[in-house]
Symmetry: C2
Subunit: 218 residues, 2 copies
DNA sequence: GTCAACCATATTGTCAACAATCCGTGCGGC
DNA sequence: GCCGCACGGATTGTTGACAATATGGTTGAC
């Protein structure tokens, strides 16, 4: 990731700021002063400027005229909305994936699932979370649905912070493993409707977990 | 629309270019030379530049480094993808709308539907198409689901050109009216699942019409 | 006649300076 | 002490010039 592909400064700036936000180096609500970012990432202010415009369009940043930009804060209500939208789109992707998946692709999904089980036994929640992302991404990729892929990627970026927490709900990891198992089984067996329903159920579970967190921390 | 709300030039530029694309004044595939647009819309090149960046993020424009931007061409396959994604998200919105709709809101939907029937009797397909957009937008508004609303708006913008054609398929208007009737009925009766299914069926019908066009014109 | 290298032009990417706007601060009036 | 108000610093918005890059045509060799 450090190579950055000899692109124009503008693209670098976009990727750099985006990554910093997703990595939590720039916190929600924090002001994004153009000059500061410009110095921090060693790119011109113009590059930062268009990067911020793109990030605003993407929903990661909000800005007001003459008052600057800041990292958008996503509350629990919006996090639920984001997950609902993701559920709708990933269910669509699962549907397509179930129609198109080759045996090799199905096996790749099972392989990821086995790794998740392993991490679960090892008590490695962070590892599970990363594999979870990989699993979902792989499924979307198998679906070949580029429009859904683009939208889902944007939603995932917005939800990173909250998504991370749901795995801490007691009993959630086991449930998640079981839900994933059903999704993969449906995809591997070429049963689109079943895959779609299973994906909806899965993200419904995540939403429920998120809401439970909300109630407990209030 | 001529007033433009005393905003910054950048915002105006974004809205102007966007509107020109949606209105078909800038055709798919057409090059978007910054200087030309700058003169045409009487705004600085910097404003055009960030407008193009935003539009690219939105999926209405594509650009390559040092080679400029052009209006993105959306083929039939992608148009289908867009409609599928819309179907998933609008079904979600319909679900929420059915939970939240007040009697007044339901009546507003029926009113739009009656106008559509009227236009249909008058043979005014363009008017129907506009009312169709209004109906969908109103439904999304009722749902109160801002995340879905944002995504749907973007998808609708990308699909304008194709969407317009589906209404020309023989028998499609009547079918559309019936599908809308079911959606509204389900929303008015507070039956989320039914509303969701009806919306999916409706946009499924649009997709089928679009595919039929594809087959006939090839 | 064909092909490759080269050059002119058009266009985008970058930069630095300037103008416009917002925000906090201190001043004066009451 | 409290409120309105002007002022100054900080930050964004805009402009114009310049550098970097792609494109298309031209020239020359073969």
């Amino acid at each position: 990731m450090a190579v950055m592909e000899r692109a124009t400064e503008t693209q670098s700036a976009y990727l750099l700021v985006r990554r910093a936000i997703l990595a939590g180096e720039l916190l929600p609500g924090q002001r994004l002063v153009e000059k500061e970012l410009s110095e921090r990432f060693r790119v011109g202010r113009a590059a930062i400027r268009t990067a911020l415009a793109r990030l605003e369009q993407e929903g990661l940043v909000e800005s007001e005229p003459f008052r600057g930009a800041r990292v958008r804060t996503i509350g629990e209500a919006e996090a639920v909305e984001i997950l609902e939208a993701r559920a709708a789109l990933e269910a669509l992707a699962a549907h397509h994936a179930a129609q198109k998946a080759t045996p090799e692709q199905a096996e790749a999904l099972w392989a990821i699932h086995r790794q998740m089980e392993e991490r679960h036994r090892a008590g490695d929640l962070l590892g599970m979370s990363e594999l979870n992302s990989l699993l979902h991404r792989t499924l979307v990729e198998i679906s070949g649905h580029q429009t859904a892929a683009r939208l889902i990627e944007g939603l995932r970026a917005q939800g990173v912070r909250h998504q991370f927490h749901t795995i801490l709900v007691p009993g959630r990891p086991q449930q998640s493993l079981e839900e994933h198992r059903r999704i993969i089984a449906a995809v591997a067996a070429h049963r689109p409707e079943e895959a779609e329903a299973a994906m909806k159920a899965h993200l419904g579970g995540v939403i429920a977990a998120l809401k439970r967190i909300g109630r407990s921390t209030l």
